[in-house]
């Protein structure tokens, strides 16, 4: 969990993914489309991947990836992110965290 927290604070937008996960690809695409440059951490390429996955599940992320953090705070899974975007909140969160500027 610590590792998750640590990594999540390294940048304004952080996404935990798996290299084989295509939904992760969708969320990454959305972030790029919005002009953000999120840090991507692939759990299957990380030695502590298993533990981290468990920690993410513990946060309530189901499926465990993609897991999105903005401004160091856990935002949610793909469904949460898309909902926030439709509401118009996602952009604001990114702006607030200085991940994007407009």
């Amino acid at each position: 969990m610590d590792r998750v927290r640590d990594l999540a604070s390294t940048r304004a937008a952080v996404i935990f993914t798996k290299s084989s996960c295509c939904m992760c690809h969708s969320i990454k695409t959305l972030f790029y489309e919005l002009g953000a440059s999120p840090a991507i951490h692939e759990l299957d390429r990380d030695a502590n991947g298993r533990e981290m996955e468990g920690a993410l599940r513990g946060l309530g992320c189901n499926p465990s990836v993609p897991a999105v953090f903005i401004g160091g705070k856990y935002v949610g899974s793909a469904k949460d992110v898309l909902s926030l975007h439709l509401e118009g909140s996602l952009k604001q969160m990114l702006i607030d965290a200085k991940a994007i500027w407009f």
């Binding site: 084989s20 996960c21 295509c22 939904m23 690809h25 969708s26 969320i27 695409t29 959305l30 489309e33 919005l34 499926p63 793909a78 469904k79 898309l82 909902s83 975007h85 439709l86 509401e87 118009g88």
Partner: protein, 450 residues
């Protein structure tokens, strides 16, 4: 003295009945009082079972009851006998080309009595190999040849041959009977399961009819017969459409009769809840049969034109609505505009994810069987590929879920941005649009064709 192999003493023997050879005919065979002409089947049978054993070339006289016939050397000998003077039954012997027969020649003890012919005559078709060292010859019988084949050198051997043949026939019969039983069993099982399915369908039909749904004849639903999940969903969807029609009619008459906002609000809430219902149904259907949803076969053809990830595109819907919803406040315009843009971006993101999935699946299925050399390695490779591909297919459900979430939330967001009356008009407009698409489909399907 026989003109050929001196090692083959022959004696004439009458009374061939004693032999165990099948159905041969006795006919004049020159001095040889009887000929032994086997029936073809037997000859062929004989060819497959090494009935004939060759005796040593040392010329042991093997006594045959009642014919004394010596076999040739261990090498197989093909011989074509067509003694012109002999009245041998001419039969077609369709032996296979490479059939090898150890044949026994019948030699007459008195060649001078062999009709007018001399066995050793160089008639082109007389080809008795007298050479004990003859190599194995292929039989290569011509069709019109008559063959004289002698029995084995001992009655025991012919008995073996018969038993073997009979045994084989019996075994084949048993096998055929077994297969027939299995087929019958499979057929009966199929009938049973069909009957069960039929009862289930009848019950479902009964239930649906009771709920006032018009169920057309089986033709319409033929395309949805792909398993319980698909068909169940189609039925549920038809029911859902009926209910929506009813609700929309209620809304329309309320709007036209200038009902109060409060009344409208109630009806609209009902309609929104009803939309939630279809998304819930789709979610269940995606678990049961994701490909049915993706195929769009539960929708009409014209609707299918616009299919995106198992449903409609929210962004397109909003584009259509904006014009019909005027007058909108500035804030509403911005809100609807943002909503349209967001849904567009979300749709694009999901589309990209789907493309990545397709590419990944294609790569998985096409990756080298070239690498591994061993066959077991290939099998393991194949199974590994399949397992991976199965995993990827499993993620399709997730994509459909997200797409439906998108649709559901777009509707809810729209409802939030608009006033009650505007929402009412929006819902009517949406319903009318899809209604027209469905009507178009019907027209299309019913169009006259040359």
């Amino acid at each position: 003295m026989p003109s050929f192999d001196p090692h083959l003493p022959i004696s004439n023997a009458p009374g061939i009945e004693g032999s165990r050879i099948h159905a041969y005919r006795v006919s004049d065979f020159g001095p040889f009082e009887q000929s032994v002409a086997f029936r073809l089947e037997d000859a062929i049978d004989l060819s497959t079972s090494t009935v004939f054993n060759s005796a040593k070339a040392s010329g042991q006289a093997v006594s045959f009851d009642p014919l004394h016939i010596a076999t040739f050397d261990k090498s197989t000998t093909s011989f074509n006998i067509n003694p012109p003077a002999a009245q041998v039954e001419s039969q077609r012997l369709p032996l296979e080309k490479n059939q090898q027969l150890n044949l026994v020649s019948i030699s007459s003890g008195n060649t001078e009595n062999w009709g007018e012919s001399n066995m050793a005559d160089a008639s082109p078709r007389t080809d008795i190999s007298t050479d004990a060292d003859t190599d194995d010859k292929n039989l290569g019988f011509d069709r019109g040849l008559s063959i004289v084949v002698a029995a084995s050198d001992s009655s025991d051997r012919s008995k073996d041959k018969l038993d073997q043949k009979t045994l084989r026939r019996l075994a084949q019969n048993r096998e055929a009977a077994r297969k027939s039983r299995l087929r019958k069993k499979a057929y009966v099982q199929q009938l049973e399961s069909s009957r069960l399915k039929l009862t289930q369908l009848e019950q479902e039909l009964q239930r649906a009819r009771q709920q006032g749904i018009f169920i057309s004849s089986s033709g319409d639903q033929a395309h949805s017969m792909s398993g319980n999940g698909a068909m169940a969903f189609d039925v549920e969807y038809a029911r859902w459409l009926e209910e929506q029609n009813r609700q929309i009619n209620e809304l329309r008459s309320a709007v036209n009769s200038h009902a109060s906002d409060a009344e409208l609000h109630i009806i609209i809430d009902g309609i929104m809840a009803h939309y939630d219902e279809i998304f819930r149904l789709k979610s269940n259907a995606a678990k049961a049969d994701v490909f049915h949803l993706l195929s769009g076969m539960w929708k009409t053809p014209a609707e299918r034109c616009f299919l995106w990830l198992g449903g409609f595109r929210s962004s397109e819907l909003l584009k259509l609505l904006v014009n019909q919803l005027e007058p909108l406040t500035e804030q509403q315009l911005v809100g609807i505009g943002n909503l349209q843009q967001s849904s567009q971006q979300a749709e694009d993101a999901l589309s990209q994810g789907m493309e990545a999935l397709q590419q990944s699946l294609a790569e998985t299925l096409s990756s080298g069987s070239l690498g591994s050399s061993s066959s077991s390695g290939n099998v393991a490779n194949y199974m590994g590929q399949m397992a991976m591909a199965m995993g990827k297919l499993g993620t399709l459900e997730g994509f459909i879920r997200q797409a439906d979430n998108l649709r559901q939330q777009t509707l809810q967001q729209m409802h939030r941005i608009l006033t009650t009356r505007q929402s009412g008009r929006a819902l009517l407009a949406i319903h009318d649009y899809f209604s027209r698409l469905r009507a178009l489909s019907s027209l299309w399907l019913a169009r006259p064709r040359e």
